[in-house]
Structure formats: C-alpha cells, structure tokens
Amino acid sequence: MYAFNYHRPASLADAAKLLGGASDGKFIAGGQTLLPTLKNRLASPSDLVDLTGIAELGGISASGGAVSIGAITKHAAVATSADVKKAIPALAKLAGGIGDPQVRNMGTCGGSVANNDPAADYPAAVVGLNATVHTNKRKIAADAFFTGLFETALEEGEIITKIEFPQPKRAGYEKFRNPASRYAMVGVFVAETANGIRVAVTGAGPCVFRHTEMEAALGKSFSPDALKGIKTDPAKMNSDIHGSGEYRAHLVGVVAKRAVQNALG
C-alpha cells in the first residue's frame, strides 16, 4: 500500500468535509474490497475517511412494508437479522452467501453497493427488489443507481446512508460461484413485487442488469419452466479466463430458473 492519511469522523457532515478537504480522498467502510485494491497498489488515495464511526449509518429497521439497512451494517448482521429473515428471506440468504464468515464480519451493505463490483451480490438485490438508495443528499432509485462497471450515480463526496428494500410478495436469489474465488460468475435475484416481476442479473455482465424478457415471461407464469428457451446475448456478457460469454449467457438461464424455484420455496 502507498501511504495515506486516515480519518474517522463521528458525523456525516465531518465526513463530507474531510473528503472535500483531501486532494484525493476515498471513503472506507469495511474495506474488504478497498484494502485488497490498495494492497495491490491499484489505487493511491491521499486520505481514507472511515465511515464506520458514524452511528446514524448503522442499524436495520423494518416498517411500512420495507426493510431499511444502514450503510455500515455488516453482511453478517443482515444475514442473521430476524427482521430481514422474516420480511425478505432472500436478502438474508444473499448476505449470508457473500465471501466467507470473516469477510461478512467486516464487509458492509453500503460499501458493496457504492463499489458496484460486477460480481458483487448486493447490486442484484437492490435492482431486483427495486430498492431506494438514500444518501446524505437525496434518494436514488435502483434503476438509476448502477451506471456501469464500478460506476454509480453517486457524486463525488456523496455518502450512502441507508438502503430501503420494499418487501416483495416473494423473492429468490441464486448464484453460481467461481470455484476458486467464490465470487458470483452469475447471480440472479428474482422478485415478485407490488409493481410486477423483476429479474436482476449480477456477475454475468460488466454491471448488474434487468432481464426484461425473463420478467415478461415470469409475469405470465411464475415458474422455472416459464424461462425455457429464453436466450441471453453472449456479446453482452463478460468473457474472461473463468468463462466465455456463451458460457455465462447459458448460466444466466440455469441460475435464473433456480432463483425462481427458491422464490417458490
């Protein structure tokens, strides 16, 4: 790692001020992606502003048909939360499948969403459940939040405060892990929401995306068989040493069927 300055503010206002005053600052929460990046010298921020000392960014609350998860809530806390398990069991399952137990004890919901790694799990839940990302400045709808590879609608210095997941009628998440890294090669979140079916795919392409053909098919019949014959364009998939675009496109169909099966219970 290159050297940097470290700050741990206790308020959102101080965090924004510290980042604004740094020549090239970055926020850090659990650091489970950022620290490996820094160790590989792929980034060299002048300052790290640690958000985990800001109490208002923590906690899980369920009310009014939605579950709100504070940005610095650890994956392990989401996975074991009675509120999450009751309202959106698929979300608890997703959080409990991220990394390994030690990573889940550090990694945070907000950090995962802000980073938008193409193989991250949380973006699939945010898009699949039509969640709302709350920041220190505004509210951003899921469909407008993830804009590309490691890119989001967040502006410089904008901090995610919480993510509000509406409770679906039913939902399921399934992922196919890379056998070595255990990252999702394909992950599919399927949800039947108040406004129809949503199918969000992570891992397969450069950024999480909605599979509208699958959504239409599941709208007619919510069953794994409804997805038979639906193709995914290999040209839009990632292609790397772990799998070709064709392979991933095929996996999207397989994993989506399993996700629907999960949603059916």
Partner: protein, 156 residues
C-alpha cells in the same frame, strides 16, 4: 505521518504510533511481536491471519490497525488460560488436525467463533463455515473432526 492506535489485545491495552497504512496483522506481529497470527496469502482468502475483533472472527491482513482502534482483539496467543490449552486447541491436538501447522492459528480462531455461534454444529455446517480457511496438508478431514469435538468440549 503516524497516528496513535490503542487496541486491547488479549486483555492488555496496547498503544503504538503507527503509519495509517499499518495492517492489523502487522500491528500484532511487528509491533507487539505476537507472531502466532500468520500471513499466508495476504489476499484475504486463506484465513491464516484470522483473529477476533470484539468476539467476531476477521481477517487481520485485510483490516487496518486504525480500524480496530478501541476494540478488543483476541489472537491465538490469548486462547490458552493459566497454561491450559483452550478446548478447541486441545481438540486440534487430540485429533491430529494439523500437519505443518501454518493454517492452524487461523483455523482455530475461526473454529472458536463458529462454535460460539453454533454450539452443536453438524459436519456440513463445519465444512461450510470453514470456507474462509485453507489448509494445504490435511484434506480437512481431521480438522472437521476436531472442530466438532472442540465445539462439544466448549459447551461442556
């Protein structure tokens, strides 16, 4: 530039002036000379560096010492009490759950956390929960036996 970091390690409050980029594992090994915590892969995959922060297992190669400011950290050196091995350590010895021993400190720290959350884990649970710890010698078989026996000994 250095910052002052205070961490309670194995019950003892330790304060050191360190560079902000100091990892928790460096703080433990290089500043406190607690070399029981190992660095294996240095990429948060192998789990040789697992310690407990406030009772929860974490990978100390992927945490800044500064992130553990004010926390209570337990390392492998903190498990034995009054010269007597922790039940999980004893189970690893009894079941020959190691060969070279490099992964063992992290394996045991993960196993203790696992047993605290699952007092009576099934073999499947143990294998699943040890996802973040790699052993290149044993094939895991005796490790799994030891963790189940250690969990049983811990619940008394």
């Amino acid at each position: 530039m250095t910052i002052s970091v205070t961490i309670t390690v194995n019950g003892q409050q330790e304060t050191r002036d360190v560079e902000p980029r100091t990892l928790l594992v460096q703080f433990l090994r290089e500043h406190l000379q607690l070399t029981g915590t190992h660095v294996g892969c240095d990429t948060s995959q192998c789990g040789a560096c697992v310690v407990h922060i406030d009772g929860k297992s974490v990978k100390s190669c992927t945490i800044l010492a500064a992130q553990a400011q004010g926390a209570k950290v337990i390392t492998i050196e903190g498990l034995a009490q009054d010269g007597k091995l922790h039940p999980m350590q004893e189970a690893f010895r009894e079941h020959h759950a190691l060969q070279c021993g490099f992964c063992t400190p992290g394996m045991i720290m993960s196993a203790v956390d696992l047993a605290q959350r699952n007092p009576n884990p099934s073999e499947e649970t143990v294998r699943h929960e040890l996802e973040g710890n790699l052993c290149r010698c044993t094939g895991y078989h005796n490790i799994v036996k030891a963790v189940m026996a250690g969990a049983q000994a811990m619940r008394g």
